[in-house]
Symmetry: C2
Subunit: 337 residues, 2 copies
DNA sequence: GTTAGCACTCTCGCCTTGCGAGTGCTAATC
DNA sequence: GATTAGCACTCGCAAGGCGAGAGTGCTAAC
């Protein structure tokens, strides 16, 4: 258990380091924050904090830098709840209402807002159901031996795939098949389709099979992040200025294996913060990730997350992520109830 | 007009510099390529090439480096036609045939192949018609006041948009409206739709308006690159190792304003090479871009391009881009005739 | 418990210095 | 006249040395 003074000290050390990205020294602190004690006292307290593993010196006789544990303590115990300022709330709501009523559009916008406000990378998945249901299915002839299968999901997403035909089919035949399949498959999930025997064959069976496959791969991908913004801002941070580390990061985040980089399942359904070395993936050890899941009606869900250096404005990040998430949940509730 | 020996010299200077990314000196050249003359002679010849502006020294008494003009001369006059090796051709064809018969999938694959073989960034647009035509249109109820509009284009692409309704509509009403709109709009382009008065109103008119808008924005975006692979490889090149330049590049290329970075209209319809300073965008001055347009039946077209440092294996890039483009054209011909 | 004072430790930027690579020129050679 | 050996010269670059500055821990006094 820390004394009150040490808690305050840790707090301002973190504040200062977040601001400057530099190790912070005792004298500078006393000076800048007009502390009622001398730098020597601060040094003693710092030594104690270092003893506890909350701060460290990059090398003898440099200032102190918060450790991962220090940041962890900060977010658990020190961080005060921040609110997104009223006017910004307005702006954000406005942007969402301006945007097309489109799940993808919302996700993109959310990512852009987070990235812009926090000057870091933001990753947002579009809202998906964990188990998508077919709403409507359509077959369109491309030419004799090729058709396009279009599947509309209940959650207003559209999937498509081309379908090779083993004998020529006219548009009329395809339409008829689609009608039949609609009757059989509407409202079903992938697993339901797999269980039932539909009693069809030939081209219709092939189309049904393809539709089920689409549904399955959609379910699998349902937590695959879709929009990433602000990678640029993240890489611009001083901690990544010497290229080598930045490259590794870019590699992990760019190649769509973002799910490896970001744990897609926030534990408590609530807000989740992973700090530096807590991260399982090596390349992300210099970063912290703030993630929240948002949910909508009928099982729609997705995640919002912000990726920044460990030296990141956690309170602001948390507030913004929370707020954007709440706006999205509200919109989902209104438009996709 | 260059003497034969100077041409050969320029050629090996470029070969060597492409290989090592270092300025190349006279002695090293004589040594490595067993030239039948002394380094002094080479120096004289180099002085002449420098006089012509084809090579330059980064600073007094460093080796020579090809200038943009040097590379230009190389690609115009020196570069020998290279072929993609037989076995790789096989592999590529195989990969394309393995892939789903999907325009997007092909574009993604093409980008991946180019990036992997050339170890540079590759940008590929999906095949689009410059003037998309509506094939089929569908309206799906999301809830009372919200419908999903799905538009299938002739070229087997699917567009979607949600549609706010000013009065509640059942799925039956929506289906009826869709039938009516299909009859009116099928086969039309955006501009045709804009010209004609369709004689409809209310919800149907709103849907028609939205569909026309979708078509238009699709036409506008028709040259917007869709797949970018291998940015990582590009940034790993030694010329970008000190972060600052890399950031600028990333900025230009990442933010979907790739069209600014890459001239989307290769002049002769054929192959187009832009070298370093020839590029209009500052951030791209350190890069060369090899672009080709591919075309398919019924006006489908897109571009394939490779972005690398000016020091790039042009002959290999050209050969690969050409080959991949020919494979795509062939596939388009077969499946979308 | 706090603080002034001080010796100590490191990093960082700066300068110098010494290569080494590579050049251009000149004069001799084929 | 082209080629070449020889040589002086120019720079960039890495290594070493040095001083300044920041920051520390410790000690002794308050």
């Amino acid at each position: 258990m820390l004394t009150e003074r040490r808690r305050q000290l840790l707090q301002i050390i973190i504040d200062e380091h977040v601001r400057t990205a530099q190790p912070v020294g005792s004298a500078a602190l006393v000076d800048r924050y007009h502390l009622p004690v001398s730098s020597a006292t601060i040094r003693n307290e710092m030594a104690a904090l270092e003893e506890d593993g909350l701060i460290a010196q990059p090398h003898t006789s440099a200032g102190r830098v918060p450790t991962d544990a220090g940041y962890r303590y900060y977010v658990e115990a020190l961080m005060r709840d921040e609110q997104v300022p009223e006017d910004l709330q307005q702006t954000i709501r406005h942007q969402f209402h301006q945007a097309a009523r489109e799940l993808e559009e919302w996700a993109r916008l959310a990512a852009a807002i987070l990235a812009a406000r926090l000057r870091n990378a933001a990753v947002v998945t579009t809202p998906h159901s964990p188990e998508a249901r077919i709403r409507l299915l359509e077959l369109v002839s491309v030419h004799d031996y090729l058709a396009l299968l279009v599947v509309v999901l209940q959650e207003a997403r559209v999937l498509q795939q081309t379908l090779a035909l083993d004998h020529p089919c006219s548009q009329d035949e395809l339409s008829a098949a689609a009608r039949k399949l609609n009757a059989l498959m509407a409202g079903k999930t992938a697993s339901e389709l797999r269980k039932e025997r539909l009693g069809i064959s030939g081209m219709e069976a092939a189309a049904a099979e393809a539709a089920a496959g689409l549904l399955e791969s959609s379910d699998e991908m349902s937590l695959e992040p879709s929009f990433m913004e602000g990678m640029r801002d993240l890489l611009r941070q001083p901690e990544f200025s010497q290229g080598s580390r930045a490259l590794g990061l870019l590699e992990v985040m760019e190649e769509r294996n973002v799910s490896r980089a970001i744990d897609p399942s926030p534990a408590g359904g609530e807000l989740n913060i992973v700090i530096g070395g807590e991260h399982p993936v090596d390349e992300m050890r210099a970063c912290s990730v703030v993630t929240t899941r948002y949910t909508g009606p009928s099982g729609l869900r997705g995640i919002l997350s912000v990726v920044g250096p460990t030296r990141m404005e956690y309170s602001r990040a948390v507030a913004t992520v929370r707020y954007v998430s709440s706006v999205m949940e509200e919109l989902l509730g209104v438009y996709f109830a």
